[in-house]
Amino acid sequence: MFAYYLQLGLRSLRRNPMLTTLMVMAIGFGVAASMITYSVFRAVSDDPIPNKSSQLFVPQVDGWGPQQNDNGEIPGALNYVDAMALMRAHKASRQTLIYPVMLSALGRDADSVPTSASGYAVTGDFFPMFEVPFLYGSGWNADEDDHRAADVVLTQEFNQRMFGGANSVGKEIQFGGNTYRIVGITKHWNPAPRFYAVWGEDGFSEAPDFYVLLNRMLDLHIDSSGRNSCRGNLTFTGWDQWLQSNCIWLMPWVELDTSSEVAQYRQFLTSYATDQQHAGRFGWPANVRLLDVMAFLTQQNVVPPESRISLIVALCFFVICLVNTIGLLLAKFMRRAGEIGVRRALGATRREIYTQYLLEAASVGIAGGLLGLLLTAVGMSAVTLLFDAEIAQLAHMDLSLIALTLLLAILATVAAAFYPAWRAAQVQPAWQLKSN
């Protein structure tokens, strides 16, 4: 029966090509618009490190105070003094500090032109904490952090550019006029959004070129190539005084595996800030926060407003397409009132009529979904027009998106058909037969 109704449905689609085309187009456009914007939204709002996002935390300490912070909001990064204090306390199983650096790298050839390389100054825990995959070698350990070694880890992309992709572990490389020893090459790894450095960045840029030892960078007085935010009357006149200032530029991360560890760390943060108040460094009561990855991304507004607005607009668009489809289905079904009358008179139950027309709608949905799929694929390539290239390239077609497109098209069309099919099932056979 099911197959027969579907066949009837397909036949009726052919009988009225104008109306059918209109419906299929409406569903197709609606579904495609929703899917394209959803794929972008999904890409920017996804969990970048799903298996660990609830164990990684950003400790935040308000070093600006209620008069200078942004309406009571705790600043998103730490100043040098607080960052170093948290590192020294070492209250988490793993912890790291991060800041972006930009260095010039010199190629292998003697006459090569230097190129610009961007990376992050990190501590050794960075690699195991964020589960950075390695192609060759590994990161460095806490010992080397303490010895301020000139170690560097290159990314696969940068290793390709500088060494043609060979295993360059143990080789040396020049950064900003200083020599570094390559200890590891990472596999391609660029979480989107780049949660660990999202403060002051848009979070969707190309993969970095290298990771370098933080203490080494500090020794060389290499400042952050990213955001540096200061408040109030600043009186620093050199590197050391700048380090002691309230300027925030360091991104701290800690790994806490159990909820009791989280509670303990939170307590530690509060007592640290209270101590600072007692010591007279903070003129305000403790204002601290411990955010996991997703909470931090929300706090930092990683999802661009454009992405949200366009998703909402696309969904509204889809709703209008559905209202349109309800109207057209009503017209299409009621046009066949006579035929329904005959079928009812010959013994078809209301339920059978209802099922038949819902299935007819489902066939419209399938056609609309297929068109939607096609339009989504086309739209994906044009999505660079609407979003930054870095974000646009994150949007991609995968099996789940294809399945979702078809499912949405069919379900929505069937839902739209509830009322028209009910009207069709209500047709009085006697009326139709009489007027004929």
């Binding site: 050199g238 209008i320 046009r335």
Partner: protein
Amino acid sequence: MQIKPILAAMRHHKAGALLVGFQIALTLAIICNALFIIQARIARVERPSGVDESRVFVIENNWADKSSYQTIGAQIGADLIALRQLGSVEDASSTNSFPLHGAGWDNYVKMRPDQIHMTTDSSVYLSDDHTLNALGVTLIAGRNFTANEVQAAQLEEGKSWPVIIISKDLAKLLFPGGDAVGKTIYVTNTNTPSTVIGVTDTLQSHMMDGDSGSFAYNAILVPVRQLSSYVYYVVRARPGQLAAAMRDAPKALFAQSRMRIIDPKDGVMSFAQVRAKAYERDYGMAILMGIVSAVLLAITAAGIVGLTSFWVGQRRRQIGIRRALGATRTDILSYFLTENMMIGVCGVVVGTLLAIGINLWMVTRFAMAHLSITYVLTAAIILLLLGQGAVLAPALRASRVPPVEATRPV
């Protein structure tokens, strides 16, 4: 016009009329918000930067050897002389940022040293005596920097800036009474005053974020040569020589010294490119809204055509009877047009409320401006006309139903 019979007939196809009305309402709500977004984005994109955009280009120069900041100052000086000597170049200057750049410094501006909350926020452009000419910005009051006022400094050195030049809009904001030249304000990290020696014509800030809108034309020029790992050269070509200057300038710099990095892809950007990049998202949003509006209108029109055709088909007999009783073709035509107009007006009224609702929500959620009534009116007129246009073809078909139809069984 016979409103009553139309209402009576509509009662027989409530669902259809409701659907068309609802669709018009939703479309109106979306369209006027979309038009509003398009207009807001276009207005943003069309703001003047104050820069002589057709002749200015920017070079991002990174130093390969960052070990010594002392040599960088001398190198910048030599670079600028080399750039200014080029036949295609009118003037060149070094800076940390420029209008529309997005990245740069902004400092709080205070009127008194003991002030805790800022008076306003402003871009800080590190400049020299050639900056105004290199940007193509004119002074409207006061004087330019002199060569010996320009000092070299590192970011971490919080030096005082005894003389500054501010933009027209900042001057108006700080000194609403008038002349800013000669007055002092506090913009430095140290607590020393800076004297305003000049006021430029319109000059945009580097800030492009949505929430920095009220600071968009606040700019302060300070006579500092920045000693850091990078520098931007703002170069103004002679009239008609932009392409030549953009080709010559990097060559001249590399002839000076090879120990620099100028990205081959976007290291040298004309101001047109700077502008395109700065407003990428705004263009994208405007295009998206444009496409959505166009497709929505098409779909709504198609829906009206489809449903009206169905009604006409259903009522052929009734139309025939009316024609047989003396109704003219125009009467039939105007019947369907009026019917559509009535549904349309209801839809537009509901849609207006919906549009305002959506806008109020967007105002709180996305910090957008309030919808002006012109957009609602424009969208309402568009939709009513669209409805009339869509209904025209089926209505004409209806008007051609012959009176003899009345005698035929359906």
